[in-house]
Subunit: 175 residues, 2 copies
C-alpha cells in the first residue's frame, strides 16, 4: 500500500534559501530545511537542480537559510517562491544586508539567518542535498512566530510549485 496522502502529515517550516555568484544574490522558498547534528551544529537543505539558487550554492559553497515570520504576506513570499531568478532580480525588491560571509541577509519578514559552508553534496536525482556546519547565525526577531508550511498551505492558501520536494499531483485535495 502506498497512499501518498500520508506525506501531508509531515511538518515543516518555510524558509528563504539564498546564495551568490559573480556579485549577484538569488534565493528561493524551501521547506526542506533541517538541523542534522548538534555538535557541531549542521544544517541540510534539499534543492531542485534546475533552480538558480542551486547553481549559486554549487558555485559559492555557501548558503543562508532564513525562517519566514508568520506575518509574511503572499506578495512577499511570491517574490522568492514564484519568480525565476534567471529572469528576475529578486533582491532588487527586498531589504537586505550583506553579512561577514558575503551572503545576503533579508531583513524584512524573516526571523533569523543561519548560514552554512557546504561540506557534503548528496545527489538525490531531481534534487541535491547540501549539508554543512553553521558559520553565521543571527536572530532578527526574538519574539516572532515562524511561518509553518501548514499555516502557509491552510491559512494563507499558498500553493506548492512544481520542482518542490513536496510537490504532489493530488495537491489541494489532501487537507
Amino acid at each position: 500500500m502506498i497512499d501518498l496522502k500520508a506525506l501531508a502529515d509531515l511538518s515543516y517550516g518555510l524558509f528563504i534559501v539564498s546564495s551568490y555568484k559573480d556579485g549577484k544574490f538569488n534565493g528561493l522558498i524551501a521547506n526542506s530545511v533541517f538541523q542534522v547534528t548538534a555538535e557541531p551544529p549542521q544544517l541540510a537543505v534539499a534543492l531542485n537542480k534546475e533552480s538558480l539558487t542551486h547553481e549559486y550554492i554549487k558555485s559559492s559553497g555557501k548558503f543562508c537559510v532564513q525562517p519566514l515570520k508568520e506575518t509574511a504576506q503572499m506578495p512577499f513570499i511570491g517574490i522568492f517562491g514564484f519568480r525565476k531568478g534567471k529572469e528576475f532580480d529578486k533582491f532588487s525588491k527586498v531589504s537586505y544586508k550583506v553579512n561577514t560571509e558575503g551572503l545576503a541577509v533579508v531583513t524584512e519578514n524573516t526571523l533569523a539567518a543561519l548560514c552554512v559552508e557546504v561540506k557534503q553534496k548528496i545527489d538525490l536525482g531531481t534534487h541535491t542535498m547540501f549539508i554543512g556546519p553553521i558559520t553565521f547565525a543571527e536572530v532578527l526577531c526574538s519574539d516572532c512566530k515562524p511561518l509553518t508550511y501548514d499555516y502557509y498551505q491552510n491559512t494563507l492558501k499558498g500553493k506548492t510549485p512544481k520542482g518542490a520536494t513536496t510537490f504532489k499531483d493530488y495537491q489541494g485535495g489532501v487537507k
Copy 2:
C-alpha cells in the same frame, strides 16, 4: 556572529522512527525527518549513531516514520523518547501491527506510517542520515492534527534528550 538561538526558529514535526533486527522491533522519537524529492517520493532521517534504532536500520535497510498526533501524551511519547531500546522492549508497551514490509506500524497516537527502503547512508559525524524511496504509506487518521516540535516544547513542555540533532546546552532559556 554565531548566535545559535536562531536554531529555535526552525520548524519540525515529531515522529516515531522504527525498524527491526532478528525478529525484534525498536523505535525512537525524532524530529529530523523530511521529504527530499517528489519524484520518486523519498524521505530522509538523521539518527544518532549510538541509538539501537540506528543499528536496526543499518541491519534491515528499512525504516518507518510515523507522525505523532497532537493529542499524544507525554507518557506515551516517553516510551519511545526517553527509554533505551537496549534495556527495554518499547513495543511491548504499545499497540502495533506488522505491515507488508515486515515493519511495525504503531496504531495508537499516530496519524500515518511512511516506510522507506534505504538507498543512501550519509555520515554526519555523530549522526547518520538515511535516505530512500517510500515503499509503504498508510493514513491512520485523516482528520487528526500532527504534533509539532514547537507544540511539544512549548505546550507539552517536553525536553530534548542529549543525542538529538537539536539538543542544545542553552535549552530551556530560548523561547
